[in-house]
């Protein structure tokens, strides 16, 4: 009898532990906790770690002197062969992550064991340009929020993994999709729509976290009668299909009550003649009132873009110590167009801008930050190429070093071919072709993230570049043979973590770029932003490589 009951006893204990662990978070993640996320560094509560989006942790167990002792703690294998581009969030020992395309997983953040999975099967009608993937979750109270590849927003109970509500955000048949990790501000869940290659009209929208009802919507292309509409010249319907998508998470300044979002390219991508004018607010950053969605200011990086230089990068907010003792409220931006910008985030004023890689599409910026363009002759390479000097890979800022760190592609070019594009709902709307990044080479290098680096030095190399916000100069550079798709994490102890397409996870000295440690080859591309958290006082660092999440820490 006793023996027959034993399995049930064990099972009961197991369930008891799970319930206890999940009950610990019943108080939930309030807006106050999100506001003060840096005060609880053991948790990682938003996509970029805090509203300032610095991807910086105050955890200090891992230092520049002990990274050599880092060891693999656990691995989670995703049951998906899509790209693993999510940043997990962690709250009170529970990790929540998304598995492409739209599965949510709750795990024990210390052991990697799974509590539950919620699998949403997106409609086959969705047609994202570049992979059926997802970049992560938002969280408020005890509810998770996931934006789906078929343009729906789903609320999920963080304890049970059961859906709470679902809202249709846009029509996937018209090319709308969502890959973004939602941003929660106050009682609202804010998302943006992808689809810049399908002639969508982009927007950012806020939804009531309790009900899923839409609260406000900001179209990233102004309609007739709205300021900025005149930048879609010609009087046609170019604005209706002008793209300006939103596919990375914004930031928030609570003092100004402004939320900042990067806006994608205008469409058709490579034929600007079809959409004369500056094409606001494509390739811009917009500052919106978080309560109403009203535009406070904007800054456009690339007017009338020829090259698909999406400006969706993470807006990094920095309270920078000025020499006179005051604090400057800045926004730092490593743009896909190859320039590193410093803006005043109170009003959008251009402070400075300098190229961080070799470029030839512009010779510089004027006093207002507008590019002085130098279009290249047809059939010749434009630097940076279509993938940009950087792209969606999360940058980092360290208040310790006062440096901005960006993952970059160097010496990568594209020859752009232009052709007329006809808008058809749900069809690609590109307006051109992409030529060989290796001029004269017989074949296109393989963009597929395979095991073989057939990009080689001929098609560009990767680097982590540390930029000084004051001078715009590179303080140091860590070069890689292959280009990099990884984001960057910095720590208060001056360790910088990053990966790359080669599948190594690196720890660098954030002060000088010296390689402190690297993992064994993890067998797949690292294409996400590393993050850090702690459980029971022990610090962990997580990076996804290939289809697995690899979690490292120091020996106990």
């Amino acid at each position: 009898m006793t023996q027959r009951h034993r399995p049930f006893v064990v099972l009961s204990i197991g369930l008891g532990l799970i319930v206890t662990s999940l009950t610990a978070q019943e108080t939930g993640v309030t807006f106050e906790r999100l506001l003060n996320a840096v005060d609880e560094p053991e948790n990682w509560l938003t996509y970029s770690g805090s509203y300032l989006s610095q991807r910086h942790t105050a955890l200090d167990e891992i230092t520049t002197t002990n990274t050599g002792d880092l060891e693999l703690k656990w691995v989670f294998q995703a049951q998906s062969l899509q790209m693993f581009e999510t940043t997990p969030i962690v709250v009170d020992g529970i990790m929540y992550l998304t598995e492409a395309p739209n599965t949510v997983v709750a795990l024990d953040a210390k052991l990697g064991r799974v509590f539950w999975k919620y699998q949403y099967t997106p409609s086959q009608e969705s047609r994202p340009c570049c992979g059926r993937l997802n970049r992560g979750l938002g969280l408020l109270g005890n509810t998770l929020f996931m934006a789906t590849i078929d343009a729906r927003l789903i609320a999920i109970d963080a304890t049970t993994g059961q859906p709470v509500w679902v809202t249709d955000v846009a029509d996937p048949r018209a090319g709308y999709a969502m890959t973004v990790a939602p941003l929660v501000i106050k009682d609202k869940v804010i998302v943006g729509v992808a689809g810049g290659e399908y002639g969508i009209r982009g927007f950012i929208a806020a939804y009531d976290a309790e009900t899923g009802d839409e609260v406000w919507r900001f179209y990233t292309i102004p309609g007739p009668g709205e300021p900025g509409h005149e930048t879609w010249e010609g009087g046609g319907d170019a604005w209706m299909h002008g793209g300006a998508s939103v596919w990375l998470t914004g930031s928030y300044d609570p003092d100004l009550n402004l939320t900042y979002w990067g806006i994608g390219n205008p469409g058709p991508d490579w034929n600007p003649a079809q959409r004369p004018g500056d094409n606001l607010y494509s390739d811009s950053v917009v500052a919106l009132n978080a309560d109403t969605g009203e535009l406070e200011w904007y800054f456009q990086f690339t007017p009338n873009d020829d090259y698909d230089y999406d400006s969706v990068q993470i807006p990094v907010l920095v309270d920078y110590p000025a020499q006179d003792g005051s604090t400057l409220k800045l926004m730092l931006w490593g743009n896909r167009n190859g320039f590193f910008y410093v803006l005043d985030r109170e009003n959008g004023r251009f402070v400075s801008g300098n190229p961080f890689i070799f470029i030839n599409w512009a010779e510089g910026l004027d006093d207002n930050g507008r590019p002085i363009e130098t279009p290249q002759p047809p059939g010749t390479p434009t630097f940076p190429g279509v993938q940009g000097g950087t792209n969606w890979y999360s940058p980092s800022y360290s208040p310790n070093t006062n440096l901005f760190y960006v993952s970059s592609w160097e010496n990568n070019a594209t020859t752009f071919g232009v052709r007329e594009a006809e808008y058809q709902p749900g069809q690609t709307f590109l307006g051109g072709t992409l030529g060989n990044p290796i001029p004269g080479a017989p074949r296109l290098p393989n963009l597929k993230r395979g095991e073989i680096n057939n990009w080689t030095e001929a098609a560009g190399t990767g680097a982590i570049i540390a930029l000084d916000p004051v001078t715009g100069d590179a303080k140091w550079k860590f070069e890689m043979t292959d280009v990099t798709t990884s984001g960057i994490l910095t720590t208060v102890t001056d360790v910088l973590f990053t990966g790359g397409r080669e599948g190594y996870f690196h720890a660098l000295d954030a002060r000088n770029g010296e390689l402190l440690w690297r993992s064994a080859a993890l067998g797949g591309v690292i294409a996400m932003g590393p993050m850090s958290y702690a459980v029971d006082g022990q610090q962990f660092v997580a990076a996804a490589a290939g289809n697995g999440l690899f979690v490292f820490g120091l020996p106990e």
Binding site: L81, Q82, M83, Q124, E125, R127, C129, C130, G131, R132, E197, D269, D308, V386, Q387, R419, A421, E422, Q424, G426, Q427, T428, F429, L430, G432, T433, L434, G435, N436, I438, G440, A441, P442, R443, L444, P445, N446, L447, K448, R449, G450, E451, I452, N453, N454, W455, T456, E457, A458, A459, E479, M480, T481, D482, G500, E502, Y504, R518, A521
Partner: protein, 261 residues
């Protein structure tokens, strides 16, 4: 009747709801090499009969330059599936992977196979490859041939177009795929290793050396490491006639590896 209805519904579903997707595309408009290679093989077996190897086989249609009836990839998928009524272009049944590959190849064939290529006599070409061209001194055309660092030609006809083969014979350095660049490394003990690069990352390089041996070197342990930009293969622009080049291309196109694969 039921069978017919199912087929029609199935086709409608595919056309309406399954736009071509290359899941590993970094960007719409860019195509994976694996898809391009796969598409080349499919193109040869299903399209080249009418459209010809160079894409210009149908009067007034040159697939290398433009597909005016199919501006977008989705439209090209639809066209391949449904054909063009009242023309010789028939409907075709393909899997999603095959459609992805065909689109990838057709969209890039202008870049991988420029120009008109003369294709000569394969039998004469074989004689030149074995004799005057001295190709087998470095390249294997049969598995029994001796190993070296040069790419094996055993299935070259299945993975390369006539245009790229001709270009390689005339300008081997200019057409060398960068990953294939020769490398020269000096090991810590002074040993010199030469070979053809197969893969490389920040810390290591994988190669096939001049003895046909697979090697992996730790770059941090090397005294010297050089990536050469000149191909060890000579140009045949002066040593073979145009006819002989055409004959060699014809022979190379017959090298298709293991039958059935």
């Amino acid at each position: 009747m039921t069978y017919t209805v199912t087929l029609i519904l199935g086709a409608a579903f595919v056309v309406t709801f399954s736009p071509v997707r290359a899941e590993n595309q970094e960007h719409a408009g860019q195509y994976a090499q694996a898809d391009i290679d796969y598409g080349l093989g499919l193109y040869r077996t299903t399209c080249a009969t009418c459209h010809a190897e160079d894409g210009a086989g149908v009067p007034g249609v040159n697939l290398r330059n433009a597909t005016p009836r199919a501006e977008t990839d989705e439209a090209l998928v639809q066209l391949i599936q449904t054909g063009i009524p009242d023309t010789a272009m028939p409907p075709g049944e393909y899997s999603q992977a095959e459609l992805t590959a065909l689109v990838a190849y057709v969209r890039t064939m202008g870049e991988v196979d420029p120009g008109n290529v003369r294709i000569g006599d394969a039998t004469r070409g074989e004689s030149i490859v074995m004799g005057k061209g001295d190709c087998t001194r470095c390249h294997r055309v049969k598995r029994a041939d001796s190993l070296s660092s040069a790419p094996a030609l055993i299935e070259i006809g299945a993975i390369r177009t006539a245009g790229s083969l001709e270009a390689s014979l005339l300008d081997p350095t200019g057409t060398m795929i960068p990953i294939n660049r020769p490398i020269r490394a000096v090991l810590a003990d002074g040993t010199v290793v030469k070979g053809r690069r197969l893969n490389e990352d920040t810390y290591s390089v994988q190669l096939i050396d001049d003895n046909g041996r697979l090697r992996s070197l730790d770059k941090t342990m090397l005294r010297e490491f050089t990536i050469l930009e000149t191909s060890p293969m000579p140009s045949y622009v002066d040593s073979l006639t145009e006819q002989e080049i055409a004959d060699v291309v014809a022979y190379l196109l017959t090298l298709r590896g293991v039958e059935g694969l």
